[in-house]
């Protein structure tokens, strides 16, 4: 059994499994998300697609907005702080948010260090592009990992790349003899005890969700089949033509990810999805996934 404090954090992540967590920018959207069957909402001022389009420094949301959303829905409310900005995280904890996302979608506050998340009572979720990054975040105290994908792109390709990278490294470690684990841990830049955990258990010690690019019910089903345990959907819902219907359809496709008949039915008559971006059209320095290490 995990130590008690960490168990309580991971416990909430366990409750969110098999669900959809939706980005919302006001109380009305939060209500739409809850009514559509979201297991949690992410409260933020601008969704990633708009942050990308408008540029500038993206910071923690106004506490007033977060409190409005917390007062509107009964499901858990998450909020984002900048990478390394532990004072923003302290504010979010004092507001009583249920989960803090130390997120690459906001402009990083510290280019070298992430938050020491063990210092907090509220659980953290962090993004990762590969297993080494995931294990570093877990060592710092993250109770939930989400593969990063490319937020606000409406393109699933990066989410797939990152989920496959994590799964592939897990399979690799399982095949290694014990004497090769130290060297593998060194190359991953990950703590040895967590690498050993992966070898013994074949999975991360915390749940692994997917994020960054989900725009359709089929995208949601794809990520679940690739090993995601829940889907974060950011811009994909409220940048689409009919958010309420799309939100419901993505919830259904996440539950029944292995039943193509249901995913097909959920995809019918949804209106336009959010416009997507070709990865090659995003300049290197504007790739959100490269933030954090």
């Amino acid at each position: 059994m995990l130590d008690k404090e960490f168990l309580v954090k991971v416990g909430l992540a366990e409750m969110l499994k098999g669900g959809v967590i939706m980005d919302v920018t006001n109380a009305d959207q939060a209500k739409i998300a809850e009514d559509a069957g979201a297991v949690a909402v992410m409260a933020l001022e601008r969704i990633p697609a708009d942050i990308r389009a408008q540029g500038g420094v993206a910071r923690m949301s106004n506490p007033k907005l977060i409190k409005d959303i917390m007062a509107t829905v009964s499901i858990p409310v998450m909020a984002k702080c900048r990478i390394g900005h532990f004072a923003e995280a302290q504010v979010l904890q004092s507001l009583g948010v249920d989960f803090i996302d130390e997120s690459e979608v906001l402009t990083p506050a510290d280019e070298a260090n992430h938050i020491w998340k063990h210092d907090f009572k509220v659980p953290f979720v962090c993004g990762a592009r590969d297993l080494g990054e995931a294990l570093r975040r877990i060592a710092e105290g993250a109770a939930l990992i989400r593969t990063k994908g490319e937020a606000g792109s409406g393109n699933i390709v990066e989410a797939v790349r990152h989920m496959r990278a994590v799964q592939k490294e897990i399979r690799r470690i399982q095949s290694l003899p014990d004497e090769e684990l130290m060297s593998y841990a060194k190359n991953l830049g990950a703590p040895l005890d967590l690498v050993r955990y992966i070898k013994e258990n074949g999975k991360l010690p915390v749940p692994n969700f997917s994020a960054g690019g989900i725009a359709t019910p089929a995208d949601a089903a794809l990520m679940m089949q690739l090993g995601a345990e829940t889907n974060f959907v950011g811009s994909g819902i409220f940048k689409s033509e009919d958010p309420a219907e799309r939100a419901k359809a993505i919830v259904l496709a996440t539950t029944h990810y292995d039943d193509p008949d249901i995913v097909a039915k959920a995809s019918e008559g949804l209106g336009e999805a959010m416009p997507g971006l070709e990865m090659s059209s995003i300049p290197e320095e504007e790739m959100l996934q490269k933030r954090g290490w």
């Binding site: 168990l7 909430l12 366990e14 409750m15 917390m70 499901i75 858990p76 009583g96 919830v251 539950t255």
Partner: protein, 188 residues
């Protein structure tokens, strides 16, 4: 025994882990026909509002009610809310398979979640068990046919009638199988 676990959303895999530990077979249930092969059923933890919506969407309500009137069902946290008679403002009515009035998120938000020792009373014996409470509900009223089975600081945190067992905490998140064992051997 085949123990069904409602697998629409939530920590159904954690329950499956416990069932396997006890030497029984977990069966994930998403559709009504999957209930046919189950001897008993577990409704897991998760988000009760999401779960109730998916129960409606999959037209599972009447089948769950039929199952729960004749066979044993256990619910933990959100599962307890789904099984209860009354649990406040929900998108669809709860199943009313056990006469409990429930207050959701009664301890507060995630920051108020905790692990603490609870006292489990079964067969005239008292046992101490670790209770994991995550944004947990509280039982505010027990009906006349409902027996309290576990307490945390004098509050009832687990109760049962003839064949429905409901807990406000998550025995599935620990390595202690005694509560699942009690459900399988003694309920129904």
């Amino acid at each position: 025994m085949n123990i069904g676990i409602l697998a629409l959303q939530g920590d159904f895999e954690m329950h499956a882990r416990m069932i396997k530990k006890l030497g029984h077979t977990p069966v994930f249930v998403r559709y009504a026909h999957e209930l046919n092969s189950c001897d008993k059923l577990i409704i897991p933890g998760g988000e009760s509002t999401t779960m109730l919506k998916l129960i409606e969407k999959n037209s599972l309500r009447s089948d769950l009610l039929d199952f729960g009137r004749s066979r044993a069902v256990m619910g933990t946290c959100a599962g307890l809310i789904v099984l209860s008679r009354e649990a406040g403002d929900l998108p669809h009515p709860s199943l009313n398979l056990i006469d409990l009035e429930v207050t959701r998120n009664a301890y507060g938000r995630q920051i108020d979640s905790f692990v603490d020792t609870i006292v489990f009373e079964a067969d005239g014996q008292q046992m101490e068990v670790e209770g994991v409470f995550i944004r947990a509900p509280k039982i505010s009223k027990l009906g006349p046919d409902v027996q309290p089975l576990a307490y945390h600081e004098r509050e009832v945190v687990m109760a049962a009638n003839d064949h429905i067992l409901a807990a406000t905490f998550h025995p599935e998140l620990t390595d202690d199988v005694r509560i699942h064992e009690y459900f399988i051997n003694k309920i129904g």
